[in-house]
Symmetry: C2
Subunit: 317 residues, 2 copies
């Protein structure tokens, strides 16, 4: 019998729905208390490093499939899963609206004078001349990544007449993008952009991509946003770019080390807006995610296949 | 000969264009230095309280028309203009994109966790649980006003599946609004809304409208935004609503007294985001405004009529 370890509590209706497919629901407490053998778990819904590895590393582990709550899956033991033939499906698409709206929040914070007003507030300065007072049709945006989140971001930006370009593996066209470049030659797009956004997954190729060499190409850019992975950015090089004026502002939702260490200089850099890896978080996430699990469960119990959001364990996304 | 006092410097090309219609361009310096008689000015482009009144109050003033840079015109001596038969055209429509984008900035600041992150930053707290982490399709917005700015705001919100309702004089339908209510009975809309936005012009009817009686209707509302006029809000009543939990947050771009006095309690209320009346300000405003002036000038020199954005001096907008 399939056994699903639910790392996020299921509602009664959701449990009934899962049971209806002949699958037993196991709670984290049943594993930690020892009343259920971790080796018998076949499906994990969500992820928790300790419990997840307890299941995957159990002798004679029956684990076949992990359904994550996140789009990025770089925190999973992908090599081990590949060897054990464990399938992974992610939550790609679920976070697109939330992250796109967070990105708009970061952009307008800097383009509509909120940043300047906040800087002057402690001195009670009421001054109408902000550093930048831009309307969206005046700036252009380059997005690294053209997946679900990037496409939703581009759609919203195009609605406001922003010029939107993108970077992906081969430079193939993407919906709502005015132009796209291949990852190995984005220099023309970088030169044109006022705002650069990283939404790429965390992979070997994107690791440390935004380094001194990258920032040295910039001249007086307005804003760099990272909602991808903190590992993509060399933070000291980003701060040097801000100090030199190559870049005016940055908004970072992800950092190289999370939680951001208390002694990180990022905390006090007032040209950086910081959020604690929350751009994709939403109240009621489970209501949006459960339909993906359910759809996959239906084919999984029939023939072991997964129809939505299966991750290529080698590519890492 | 018509003489246009340009309170915002015109470019050479703009001067040539105005001169081509047989109109002389006068600079502020020519008035203050006394080289041009203020009584001879027939058109004012922009407004300045001192210079404007010097022209309007001059004995035998020839002033016929004022083209403002703003949408609201409540700072003009409208009664005097009515008596002197001075026409007024405003910049309605020009600021719509800028203000709508500012409004999105205010909304996402509170719905996407930026406010919470900023509050915790001084303590270097990296916590993913923000007070609110909403996606736009989960909240509903009620906008007081359904003019250019409100319609553009509604359009952008509808693109993100927000439920958008509005209030106007008679409750007539408006583009991009799911529902509208008449100004004398908006209670149903108020009850449904999570976010309430004031974009109404400053008039006798809107003065002090958002007072204790209004706020007493609210229960645990997310956000109140004022980009209309500060005179519409009794600030002490707003602060009481925030303190009592009837309202969680406010974003104020306008205040009863501007500049906001140094001793105002608004400065230190951390549930209020403050911007200094800049939501409609944009770099390169003149490039967007000049076409309105030009279009009006063309009919004005022919027959004295104005085709775009004429203000009803009695209504005040």
């Amino acid at each position: 019998m399939e056994q699903l370890l639910a790392l996020f509590p299921l509602t009664d209706a959701q449990v009934t729905s899962v049971n209806g497919l002949g699958i037993k629901v196991v709670t984290p407490a049943e594993i930690t208390e020892g009343s259920v053998d971790p080796a018998g778990i076949t499906i994990i819904y969500g992820w928790d490093q300790k419990l997840g590895l307890q299941v995957a590393n159990a002798v004679h582990s029956q684990l076949k499939w992990v359904q994550t709550f996140s789009a990025g899956v770089d925190y999973l033991p992908l090599d081990q899963f590949a060897k054990q033939h464990v399938l992974v499906t992610n939550a790609s698409g679920i976070h697109a609206a939330a992250i796109a709206q967070s990105i708009l929040g970061y952009i307008f914070y800097f383009t509509r004078g909120l940043w300047t007003a906040e800087q002057r507030r402690s001195q009670r300065l009421w001054q109408q001349s902000a550093d930048h007072q831009l309307v969206a049709d005046e700036f252009s945006v380059l997005i690294f990544g053209t997946g679900h989140i990037a496409v939703e971001t581009a759609r919203l930006l195009k609605d406001m007449d922003v010029h939107v370009e993108g970077v992906n593996t081969t430079g193939h066209a993407a919906n709502h993008f005015d132009q796209t470049y291949a990852f190995n030659d984005p220099s023309e797009g970088i030169a044109k952009a006022d705002i650069i956004i990283n939404i790429m997954p965390g992979t070997k190729e994107t690791d440390s991509y935004f380094n001194q060499q990258f920032f040295d190409q910039l001249e007086n850019k307005l804003l760099f946003i990272n909602v991808g992975r903190g590992s993509a950015v060399i933070e000291a090089d980003l701060e040097a770019a801000l100090a030199s004026g190559r870049l005016n502002y940055a908004a970072l939702d992800v950092t190289a080390q999370e939680p951001l260490p208390k002694d990180s200089p990022l905390w006090t850099n007032d040209h950086i807006l910081l959020t604690p890896h929350i751009s994709g978080i939403m109240d009621h996430l489970d209501q949006r995610l459960f339909p993906i699990l359910q759809e996959n469960l239906q084919t999984f119990v029939k023939d072991g296949s997964l129809v939505r959001n299966q991750v290529d364990l080698t590519a890492g996304y």
